[in-house]
Point group: C2
Chain length 367, copies 2
């Protein structure tokens, strides 16, 4: 192992020397500290390059050992940065070759939504575990096919619901389960952003839907994990306000209501026409919990007003990209201990089914 002084300084500066070691050295390190989950990154977009990969770099239980990209130059640049050997760079054409690559335990799928199913199924057939970004697919049918393929291959499938591994959200769940806010009556949540023209998210074939699929899913998933219930009924409305060419294929706004079996009512909004600070607010008989931001990569804030107690308003010190580290490491633990992930394919499928029902109610179609 030869590092120039400059390289060493840069690596030390990143505070993550271990994961930057060449593979052979890493393999030795792994043996001495237990097995790391070795990820092949499928799709070098923003979430991979700016969030997930830096998250894995900080990790003790995960590492990046392969890449899949259609852009050779970008792939080589990232390979150099993460010490991935050139032989472990794949294209979408030779992707199935990962089957024979002993450096890869799992794939992380960060492609446009409509490609999740295909690349999950191909990974399962290649004998690799799968961590897929949300939404898990663009249709219920594709989602089921992903579950079936991973089950058949005996491989784990996890959907990347960051918030279910994030401390502020976990604290909210705990407070609710502990009865700190009393009986929950109602929830409001919204999440959205003002989208730029030309994003693949505006292409129905790639995205499968609009803001509900992309960011509204955070509110939907949160209402489900906060209540611990599945909706008894959902109802949705959608609209397009900005006739500027962006919303020819997907909705701009979607508003939906859910009634849970306990009687809890949830009202949610999502949009591609306005920057919303994703949040949720739960109203209980003893007080209110309010997370804002609730879904961001960092800087989450926990607010509580409980009857007879001091108000709580606390920021979360969990700087980017730690949420991705937690997510990657949780999946590593699931694989190592043969544990079914909390946010497995079935969990992803439930959201897909609710989104399809919301779309149907709003007069739109899934997929």
């Amino acid at each position: 192992m030869n590092l120039t002084r400059r390289e060493l300084t840069r690596l030390m500066g990143a505070g993550a020397l271990l994961s930057k070691l060449p593979l052979s050295a890493q393999a030795q390190a792994n043996q001495s500290q237990g097995q790391k989950l070795r990820y092949c990154i499928v799709g070098l977009g923003r979430i991979s390059m700016q969030h997930f990969m830096p998250g894995v770099r900080q990790s003790e239980h995960s590492q990046i050992t392969a890449l899949v990209s259609g852009h050779r130059q970008k792939a080589e640049k990232m390979a150099a940065e993460y010490n991935v050997p050139l032989k472990n760079i794949y294209t979408y054409d030779n992707y199935d070759g990962i089957a024979g690559n002993k450096d890869i335990d799992a794939v992380y799928i960060a492609l446009p939504n409509s490609m999740h199913a295909e690349y999950t199924i191909r990974a399962a057939k290649a004998g690799k575990h799968v961590l897929s970004e949300k939404p898990m697919a663009t249709t219920v049918k594709d989602s089921q096919a992903m579950i079936d393929a991973c089950r058949k291959a005996g491989k784990k499938l996890m959907i990347a619901y960051r918030c279910q591994y994030e401390p502020t959200n976990l604290r909210a769940i705990k407070w609710i389960r502990d009865g700190r806010i009393g009986k929950v009556q109602a929830i409001e949540s919204s999440n959205g952003f003002n989208i730029k023209p030309g994003e693949w998210r505006l292409n129905r074939k790639l995205a499968g839907g609009g803001p509900l699929m992309d960011v509204g899913i955070y509110s939907l998933n949160a209402c489900r994990f906060l209540t611990g219930e599945e909706p008894a009924r959902v109802e949705g409305y959608s609209s397009v306000i900005d006739h500027d060419g962006r919303f020819k294929e997907v909705e701009e706004n979607l508003s939906w209501t859910m009634k849970f079996p306990s009687g809890i009512l949830a009202s949610c909004n999502t949009t591609y026409g306005a920057n919303m600070d994703g949040y949720y607010r739960m109203h209980g008989s003893k007080g209110t919990l309010h997370l804002e931001p609730a879904f961001s990569y960092e800087g989450l804030r926990f607010k509580a007003k409980i009857q007879g107690e001091h108000a709580v308003d606390e920021p979360t010190n969990d700087p980017e990209p730690r949420q991705f580290t937690r997510e990657a490491d949780y999946f590593a633990e699931c694989v190592r201990t043969n544990k079914e992930p909390k946010t497995d394919g079935e969990e992803g499928l439930r959201d897909m089914k609710w989104m399809a029902a919301i779309y149907q109610s709003a007069g739109l179609k899934e997929g």
Copy 2:
């Protein structure tokens, strides 16, 4: 006019000497400064005694000259406090006698909801203008009858929608009309409280409905005045979670969604099972407006996050009971200048129709 030193000190301390003068002296004062609207207070409950009457006491254009109550002792106590002559104390039985009382220009109706219609119609027949609390009635039919009676009598009818005369809400409307937040896409609003057993609000015959009628109406009305539009579609869900005897007759929770013709989507929650800080949040293409509290008697807060501008977070200095002073004086101005109130019977009726539609959609009934 004879005042003891102690009485004078108390009156001066209240900062409202004028309205505490005996009627004859007030009448002279009125002549010198223009006409005051002389209110007969119908119903001595919390909103009258703790809010509206103190609001009128601070007013320059309104005064209290008569009272209607079933509790003689309470009426005499309030009469003494507001210098109302004993002859101007009425019961619900001899209420129609206000017809011949030249000290009364208008009535302020603060009775349980189901009595608003009867006492409005009797007031109109007695030749008095009417300021009625919200909701204007418990049914669309009663509301229409109130409008008809006042129209026939040539008297003004105003519904006491405080927020439409309150500076923070007016500022929100202005920002939206001026395009400060861009094109509005979505609104969230909630309002509610954890109700005590035994309140008349839990009696369907008196209240006509649950939290939607009582406090959800603030969110409904706000969505309408903020957008300046009438919903194209509404949808509601209701539930009872607390089976503790409070909710045998009215709903505990109600959640509803509205789609406006422009495409704006609104999600609202109301409850009698949790203390909500009534608020609304509007998401526009350029930024977000957030009022919280938005509907309280004082301490309202205006927050805005506009793209490229400094965040705004400003409390409103408009201490209780000034909102009631504004409301009373606005109605006085309408009577004096023969102007139709902004929140007239038709405005109240629109909310009644939407609430009936929300109830119907939720499988409940109005009234």
